[in-house]
Amino acid sequence: MTQALFYILAGVIVASALLVVTVRNLFHCALALALTMFGVSGVYLYLGWEFLAAVQVLIYVGAVTVLIIFGIMLTRQVMDDKARVMNNQVLLSLLAAGAVALVLYLVIGHSDFQYSNHPALTAAATAPAAEASAYADEVSSLAAGLLKPQNGFAFAFEFVSILLLSALVGAVVVARKDPS
């Protein structure tokens, strides 16, 4: 039953993703993208990452998609464009994408991921209690993972904040109308 949920989600994701890349109307594309994001957050939930699922919805659906829709509206004439939506390397792109798909398929198929009794997996299954108690909820454990100096991500985390800030400023500067 729960497994069926995953496959339904997967179907939604794939279908809406296909819509994203094929639909003529950009606005519809953006809506399909939002749907894809919802699907992906569903997968996160299914995996048990509740916090990240929430973040996914907030940032992707709430921020990025909205941003994209703003972008579409600012470049509105495009929506009325009756020209082709695809460029002239569609077939080549299909070829490249197919090649990547083939490679990925072969890689996944040849790896030992399919055997569920991986030593690490069994170890994690036998002794989850201690870990679970240490990180009682996902949010605090994620916070610890990010910020505890011994994990080594603290600097990167701080740096990302600066990056965000500069991206924000940069976006404003780039998009600003030239005074002249």
């Binding site: 497994q3 992906v40 973040v55 004439q77």
Partner: protein, 104 residues
């Protein structure tokens, strides 16, 4: 609880990734290209989180990276859209093909 095998997550991510690639390569409109990139980033995140769940053993590196990816994706989207708008203003078009001043 009978789990969905990890390989299926990987296949899902792979399909999503490939669709994203197609979007990046084949769409004319710059915003569509951007959306393709978002799809690819999401595919990556699915992999991270699936591995973290199944093989992580309590190690939180996977979700931490997912957080970074989400954050940076947001920043990227903002900057990219700013560039698209700027280009649009210059060229009166949001088509990627029309910005080819670097031709040799």
């Amino acid at each position: 609880m009978t789990e969905v095998p990890i390989v299926h997550y990987l296949y899902l991510a792979a399909v999503l990734f490939v669709i994203g690639i197609f979007g990046v390569l084949a769409r004319k409109n710059a915003i569509s290209v951007l959306m393709g990139i978002e799809l690819m980033l999401n595919a990556v995140n699915i992999n991270y989180l699936a591995f973290a769940k199944y093989w992580g053993g309590g190690n939180l590196t996977g979700p931490v990276f997912a957080v970074f990816v989400i954050t940076i994706a947001a920043a990227e989207a903002a900057v990219a859209l700013a560039i698209v708008i700027s280009i649009y203003r210059q060229l009166k078009s949001a088509n990627v093909d029309d910005a080819h001043n670097l031709r040799g």
